[in-house]
Symmetry: C2
Subunit: 373 residues, 2 copies
């Protein structure tokens, strides 16, 4: 039901096709985040127009609201949100650690309080898989523990627990129409990352994710970690760098052999009135755009850039009109989707490695990091 | 440049075609409100899909932000917001009276404070026309004074001023590609309304509006006022009932010979998680919809009803997702646009008068009044 074929290579970078029950993914691919079963402010039609192929949704959020059993009874996540292309759910681990106010971790699982109403809940690897089976995404994730990258001792404990939980996640899986990916942890410690890469690879799961990055380490540390990890991974499985990232991160990730990315950045920036552009990140509150008749990005082919001026978008932002978020989300997502389309073309024609420095330069002023969530 | 042809009649009700520089309007027509040069949460593509033909925008709001001269310099309102079909701007009078915290009215005009920053501004008939010429809508409105309908003495003063201001508005107009409509006032006093209808008709403007209704009077008082006014109006000019209304108000208005309506109700209800339906107005926060797999309205042909369940929309509402407002706005607007399409068909085939009681009954539970703004 799942297969991954590499179609071209440029040193470590590669293009491929990952087959899922809801269609083929052309990799490298960027997935927008639909936290609560909706990519904020956009309809499924908008996503199709942008050429989105994979959407991520959050296990933690959907478990709390509307409830995974309700989603299952409504026919699963694809039908519920009317996205009939590939979907991915995370394990809930990251949100438990980043959103829940109080949590108690033991070797069996995590007890936490809902960020919505303070009620107490418990996730274990088995529970996470059960929830993800109820949701029904094409790609699901093993339950993991994300550590502070700068705390080596904690990173080791969290990594060991993540390994144990990965094995339990595999055993807990009952559906065969979902690809369960293991997650590599280990903070920014090269030895731990190498150990984790080898262990997770040994489980022979259909895909491998790299977690615990883009959570406070430097860009150099992220790239160094990828340089340790990706050479240790099997060639024939898709590699997913979780919660990343900026245009710069995507280019650097693909250079190191990453196939799948997701990030809230484009839609979050949109809600904070910022736009990706080749001139650098634009703050659309800025008075300099008040009479600017150009599109956000003259090279962009999105709906927003094809018909609206910066002047109009700035007016919507200043007037606090919700349409601003929609138009900026369309553009920011299309910018990253289009970057990935270009990268796939460059890998196929063998020019990606030589073009990468130029691409990095082009997107350099968009690279300010926001913490993922 | 403007012409109005009546194409069918059912007693007082009529269908017609109003020709404007941006296309023909099939009347009776309902216009959604795009207060700040956007119909809240919707793109122009959404409006086209809903079969919207006329969009209203607000002179008061656009004068304050982004400024009518900026809109003019960006090519006018149609180009600025990318709505290339007919548009209408109000005179700003109603908003000055309903939104501005302090205002001082004299026979020459109104001095008021901005609801945004408290700055002081002054509207006169000449200023209102100048702003509306800068905005560039197809239909523009004479500057008027809206009174408390229950204050007969004030209604008389406001009506007299409105008449004087209508004459000044006509004189102030310099563009010939905008149809300037006069506004009938007079509160709920039959004598004043009759006097105003005759006076405004005597100015021989290309269309006639009825203002000062749906502002606190009863439905009976509104219908009684229309019964006084419409028989006094010339047959061959479009009649616009401002700020109205509910499905029930539209049916009652058409029965009395009204051709054009506008109201914030469908989009405002959407932001307050309510949906029009033949079962009555639905409050989508309600837990009874949590597992309801039906569309909002099984008879509706809108995007929202074609693909999404009540369960999903309720989830979006509860999770405070902005997409809820978009999907509910699409549906609520389509409900009124479709009602007008049906009414035009019924007038054309001669069945509207006999069907009207059934239509009123069908929509009865959607008729709760919200004050317009």
């Amino acid at each position: 039901m799942f297969s991954f074929h590499i179609t071209a290579r440029n040193n470590c970078a590669r293009t491929g096709i990952f087959t899922t029950p809801h269609g083929d993914l052309q990799t490298p691919v960027f997935a927008p985040v639909g936290t609560q079963a909706t990519v904020k402010t956009l309809t499924p039609e908008h996503l199709k127009d942008i050429n989105v192929s994979l959407v991520l949704s959050n296990t933690y959020h959907l478990y709390l609201r509307p409830g995974d059993e309700l989603v299952r009874d409504m026919g699963g996540l694809h039908k519920f949100m009317q996205w009939h292309n590939p979907m991915l759910t995370d394990s809930g681990g990251f949100q438990v650690f980043s959103l829940s106010k109080t949590r108690k971790i033991d070797d069996d699982g995590v007890t936490f309080k809902s960020h919505i109403d303070g009620s107490t809940h418990r996730f274990t690897p088995e529970k996470s898989i059960q929830i993800q089976e109820n949701l029904g995404a094409d790609i699901i994730m093993a339950f993991d523990e994300c550590s502070d990258p700068n705390d080596a001792a904690y990173s080791k404990v969290a990594m060991q627990r993540t390994h144990c939980w990965a094995e339990r996640s595999v055993k807990a899986q009952t559906r065969d129409d979902q690809a369960l990916f293991g997650i590599i942890q280990g903070g920014i410690n090269a030895d731990l990352r190498a150990e984790s890469a080898k262990f997770i690879s040994s489980l022979d799961m259909p895909g491998i994710a790299i977690g615990g990055l883009s959570v406070g380490e430097t860009k150099q540390e992220m790239n160094d970690t990828l340089d340790v990890v990706t050479p240790l991974l099997p060639e024939n499985k898709p590699r997913y760098l979780m919660g990343v990232g900026t245009p710069e991160d995507l280019i650097n990730g693909v250079l190191r052999g990453i196939d799948i990315f997701d990030c809230v950045l484009p839609t979050r920036l949109a809600r904070h009135h910022s736009a990706f552009s080749l001139e650098g990140r634009l703050n659309m509150m800025n008075a300099s755009f008040a009479r600017d008749e150009r599109p956000l990005d003259e090279t962009c082919d999105c709906y927003t850039c094809k018909i609206f001026t910066r002047a109009y978008i700035r007016h919507l932002v200043v007037a606090k009109e919700l349409l601003a978020g929609t138009l900026l989300s369309i553009h920011n997502l299309r910018a990253l989707i289009r970057l990935m389309e270009q990268i796939r073309i460059y890998i196929a024609d063998g020019s990606f490695e030589s073009r990468a420095p130029g691409l990095l330069d082009q997107w350099a002023n968009n690279a300010k990091r926001l913490v993922n969530g």
